[in-house]
């Protein structure tokens, strides 16, 4: 009934409403233009200059700046496209030498606005995903994605183009959900040629397309496999072909996969390796207590783990290959599940799970990569009550884990207010979506209703009421404690000693939630 009603809704209206949501967000993003930006800003500026001023054959071999091009070719073409406008705005932006560390208003405005405009890709992806949903789900998802605080922090303050890339991913998922597999596969291939970090979901796509698209007898299946293969190869040829022609392919590959970097990024992403390192430190400490002599590792505890030296005292060294194997292992139950029953409804869930695995076990993971699974999980979150409850905590934890990205005092109120606002909107959105009766009529009724719903243990998705259990409440209170420790108590009690400890604490604390979420998602996928 609901779906039929939603089919009748006119699309221009949805479009207008969606653009309203985008517009409000865009205004705030415009206001954020003078806020702090990281070195990624200069990275992207340099890429603008590089692609505009140098011939294609030198794009991946240039070393004028330490910020060499390390994204796949489509992203370079994208920068090339942007640089055309950049030159019109201010020629100095695209000058390889003169433009180094250029900080004028023109370049800041240009780059910031280019991110805001490129977000339209995400808007279109969301539009395709939500146009057939019922109104409540649709709006809830807009709140989660279009007003995502994590995207604002990473893209519009820290500076990156994730909104645009995630838009491609969302588009791809929407095509898969519609059953248009070729288009979905094509878009995913395009996405990979924009940013290869998205490759983690490759196995999921592969198995899903193999089982869902390439079926219907051996001959037809093979034919379809060939068709899909041609599409993917064509995309990759369009991306890498020109570099192959110039004999640069080796250089491109070596730039794209810099395994010289360490297991963890300078600030540890809240993933499995944080616990691994902690365990190692703990064991080393214990062994020393018992009088067993072990060599102290070269890399220091507080200095992060950038570099190649083995930082582990007791536990075995981790190599890129072992992380890859772990990711695949973590993925395998899901892949089996897809093999058995490849139905389009769960695609978003599987893809998010793949990125969760990549985040948890990957090599040199940035905390920003949590966006890769939090944003697609929004599609799943509006589907059932349990998913919503799971998403609520996960989204708060991952957004909180991004706090160290903005370490300056000026941005502190912004990130806090963004997170609070997001939690509030999520809370309102979810509890409006998942309430037993239509909106509560008199506030006095609330308590009695709450009791009623908790006793009848909400298992049936639509019917239950959105509540956060005691575990979730404790976790949220914990975030407040961790933050007050880092901001007030730590500097007060310890002064400048152990400056890395508050960050480590954030990593560990958010890591707990990510690990929990991984287990939860896995369980959910297996139960489906």
């Amino acid at each position: 009934m609901a779906s039929r009603q939603s089919m009748l809704q006119n699309h221009p209206e949805i479009c207008r409403h969606l653009l309203w949501f985008f517009g409000v967000a865009a205004c705030v993003k415009l206001l954020l233009i003078p806020s702090y930006h990281s070195t990624d800003f200069e990275v992207h500026r340099h890429w603008l200059a590089l692609t505009r001023s140098l011939p294609l054959s030198q794009w991946y071999s240039d070393e004028t700046s330490p910020w060499t091009l390390d994204y796949p070719p489509f992203f370079a073409y994208f920068e090339y496209f942007l640089s055309f406008f950049a030159r019109l705005v201010d020629p100095q932006i695209v000058d390889v030498h003169q433009g180094l560390n250029y900080e004028a208003d023109t370049v800041v405005y240009f780059q910031r606005i280019s991110v805001i405009v490129s977000d339209l890709c995400l808007v279109y992806g969301i539009y395709r995903l939500t146009r057939k949903l019922e109104a409540k789900k649709r709006v809830a998802m807009w709140i989660l994605v279009i007003w995502s605080p994590a995207l604002v922090i990473v893209d519009h303050m820290h500076f990156q183009y994730n909104g645009f890339l995630l838009g491609l991913l969302m588009l791809s998922i929407s095509y898969l959900q519609d059953g248009r597999d070729v288009m979905g596969g094509f878009l995913f291939a395009v996405l990979l040629c924009f940013k290869h970090l998205f490759a983690v979901a490759g196995p999921v796509y592969f198995v899903y397309l193999l089982r869902h698209y390439c079926r219907g007898g051996l001959l037809k299946g093979l034919g379809r496999l060939a068709a899909m293969g041609t599409v993917v190869v064509a995309v990759f040829a369009a991306a890498f072909g020109p570099f192959f022609y110039h004999g640069q392919i080796q250089q491109v590959i070596s730039r794209m996969f810099p395994f010289g970097r360490g297991l963890c990024h300078a600030y540890w992403a809240p993933n499995f390796w944080v616990f691994y390192i902690i365990l190692d430190k703990g064991l080393a400490f214990l062994l020393k207590k018992f009088g067993i002599d072990i060599p102290t590792p070269a890399a220091s505890f507080t200095g992060g783990l950038v570099g190649d030296s083995s930082p582990f005292a007791v536990l075995p060294q981790v190599t890129p290959l072992s992380t890859l194997i772990m990711v695949l292992l973590a993925l395998s139950p899901c892949l089996v599940k897809i093999w058995k029953n490849p139905h389009p409804g769960s695609v978003a869930r599987w893809i998010s799970y793949a990125y969760t695995c990549g985040f948890l076990f990957g090599w040199h993971v940035h905390e920003k990569a949590s966006l890769h699974f939090v944003i697609p999980l929004a599609i799943v979150a509006v589907q059932s009550l349990e998913d919503a409850q799971h998403y609520f905590l996960l989204s708060i934890a991952t957004c909180y884990s991004l706090f160290p990205l903005l370490y300056e005092a000026q941005e502190y109120p912004i990130k806090v207010v963004l997170l609070l606002l997001h939690s509030m909107l999520m809370w309102f959105g979810f509890s409006a979506k998942f309430s037993k009766v239509k909106p509560p009529t008199i506030s006095d009724n609330k308590k009695t209703r709450k009791k009623g719903s908790s006793s009848s243990s909400s298992r049936s998705g639509e019917e239950g009421e959105f509540v956060i259990g005691w575990g979730g409440k404790c976790y949220i209170i914990g975030i407040v404690i961790v933050e007050t420790w880092g901001q007030l108590l730590h500097p007060y009690f310890l002064g400048d000693k152990l400056p890395f400890a508050p960050l480590l604490l954030i990593s560990i604390y958010c890591g707990v939630e990510v690990v929990y979420s991984w287990v939860w998602q896995l369980k959910r996928i297996m139960a489906d």
């Binding site: 000026q410 909107l425 909106p439």
Partner: protein, 524 residues
């Protein structure tokens, strides 16, 4: 008891209404007033802090800098000197360099904020050496003082007002209440001036708003205290004084013992003033010295390009050359009084809540248009009652906001705040047209008839949009270097006058309708 019941009935209606329309914002509203007020005020905070990332008045512009430096200098003076010396020229307090010229409450506020600054960044408020002090931390701390004042005074006042207003007019839908909160809290002009340009209007306006709310909820004594505090924070609040005076007078006259009521209010006013002025009441001279600082009559009838009567008509009549300041002062006083007389008389004859709000708007507009020494920023004062009445006349209100912003555009350009101006303008357009709401542009369009007035207004609107771009890009001709400023002023002034006529007639129409049905309404 009766009132409670009425409230509940109203609430039920609200729920029904909510379910009926396919409002996109339903999720925000279903939890009740407190939660969506919290949510909207969070958004308000976000907008305010992001605006404050931008430049401020007089940034990096020695030797005089701008309002930011003035406020910082007051903190420096108040923190380092005893209260008696704050308003007196001395070797330690050079009044020609941003001397304190606001009433004592501003001085106390500067003192508290000065202590805050001294705790975190002592260098920023040391005597003499801190002049023109600008630093990353200093800016942050100063911005934070404005944000916290806003949060502590303006936000609660809005909540108080909403409570009082929707208790009186309980027929409002929930969506209307939310929309109204949004309009008052995210007033682009106020945000731009307080958090961009740098001032503390949120305090005086917040106190005035609380006073209005107190009047609406029939707490006249509290209203008097709050309004006196507002007056003592910024003398500009006098713009509202005729409305408060006439409304309270009208109310007292209708009571059993009018004289007793009036003297009660008078005592409260005197008491509040005495408390605020205590350090300066030990001698006549001290008090007069402070008073003379507050009334800068030597500064001429207008400055820059303000969209008021004197400045606009000076294109044709050179007031400053024709008349001495003395007589100009008299002219402006007579003109102002004449302009707000109609609305005052209406309120004395038939005091009512809505009439009071209109009275506030009319008296502040007439002050803006005719009084002595008006600044562009003073448009904030008429804008406050306008936002309070926004639900009555959404379309004219949007236009008024537009021209209020427009009239400040040259100031905004000087302060280098064009980007927040554009962003806030766009944000307002979005917020004023929430999808699926009652004010949804698409739904209303075909209901408005095409008249000469609306065509003219549309043309003027488009003209003002074009003028924005022209002002930024085209160099004015050599002979008339201020041509575009004059045009902006002319366009804004003509609209403000139209508004003044419109709202005055509205207030009087209200009275005719009200005298007959005042009692009937109360039983509703």
């Amino acid at each position: 008891m009766d009132r409670n019941n009425r409230g509940k009935v109203g609430k039920d209606n609200v729920e029904l209404d909510n379910n009926k329309n396919g409002d996109v914002c339903w999720w925000l509203l279903h939890k009740g007033l407190a939660s969506f007020f919290l949510c909207i005020s969070m958004f308000g905070l976000l907008v305010r802090w992001t605006v404050s990332l931008h430049s401020y008045s007089g940034a990096g512009n020695p030797p005089k800098f701008g309002d930011y430096e003035a406020q910082r200098h007051w903190m420096e003076i108040t923190v380092n000197l005893p209260a008696q010396d704050w308003y007196i020229n001395s070797t330690k307090n050079d009044l020609s360099y941003w001397g304190l010229d606001y009433p004592p409450l501003t001085a106390y506020q500067s003192y508290i904020h000065g202590l805050f600054l001294r705790f975190f960044d002592p260098e920023s408020v040391t005597l003499f050496t801190s002049r023109g002090y600008e630093s990353y931390t200093g800016k942050l701390l100063m911005r934070f003082t404005v944000l916290s004042s806003d949060l502590l005074i303006f936000f609660p006042s809005v909540l108080y007002f909403i409570h009082a207003y929707y208790d009186v007019h309980s027929r409002g839908r929930k969506a209307d209440v939310a929309w109204h909160i949004l309009l008052i809290l995210i007033n682009p002009c106020l945000v731009l001036i307080d958090h961009g340009h740098f001032q503390y209007n949120c305090i005086s306006l917040g106190l005035a708003l609380a006073a209005v709310a107190a009047i609406l909820s029939q707490r006249d004594l509290l209203a008097c205290v709050l309004f006196c505090l507002s007056l003592n924070h910024k003398q500009m609040s006098t713009y509202f004084a005729p409305a408060f005076f006439s409304h309270l007078l009208g109310k007292c006259l209708r009571r059993k013992h009018p004289l007793l009521e009036i003297s009660k209010l008078g005592l409260v006013v005197l008491g509040t003033f005495a408390m605020v002025w205590w350090p300066y009441l030990h001698s006549r001279d001290a008090a007069l010295q402070v008073l003379s600082r507050l009334a800068p009559f030597e500064r001429g009838i207008y400055e820059d390009y303000v969209a008021n009567f004197w400045c606009t008509s000076s294109v044709l009549i050179k007031w400053k050359r024709l008349f001495p300041t003395q007589s100009l002062r008299l002219f402006s006083m007579v003109a102002t009084i004449l302009a707000c007389l109609p609305s005052m008389i209406q309120q004395i004859l038939a005091p009512s809540s809505k009439g009071f709000l209109y009275g506030l708007l009319n008296s502040s507009l007439s002050f803006y248009l005719f009084s002595f020494q008006v600044h562009e920023k003073s448009i904030l004062l008429p804008l406050l009652p306008a936002t309070l009445l926004a639900m009555e006349w959404p379309r004219p209100f949007k236009l008024l906001t537009h021209y209020a912003l427009f009239s400040m555009f040259p100031l905004v350009c000087r302060d280098n705040l064009i980007l927040p101006y554009i962003a806030l303008y766009a944000l307002c357009i979005f917020l004023y047209h929430p999808p699926g709401g009652r004010w949804d542009g698409a739904k209303r369009h075909h209901s408005t008839p095409l008249t000469l007035v609306s065509v003219l207004l549309t043309l003027a609107y488009l003209g003002s949009l074009v003028l924005h771009i022209v002002y930024l890009t085209v160099r004015p001709p050599e002979r008339y270097p201020f041509l575009f400023e004059a045009l902006i002023m002319l366009l804004s002034f003509s609209h403000f006058v139209l508004f003044a006529f419109h709202t005055n007639t509205k207030q009087w129409m209200l009275s005719g309708h009200l005298i007959g049905s005042d009692k009937g309404k109360k039983q509703h």
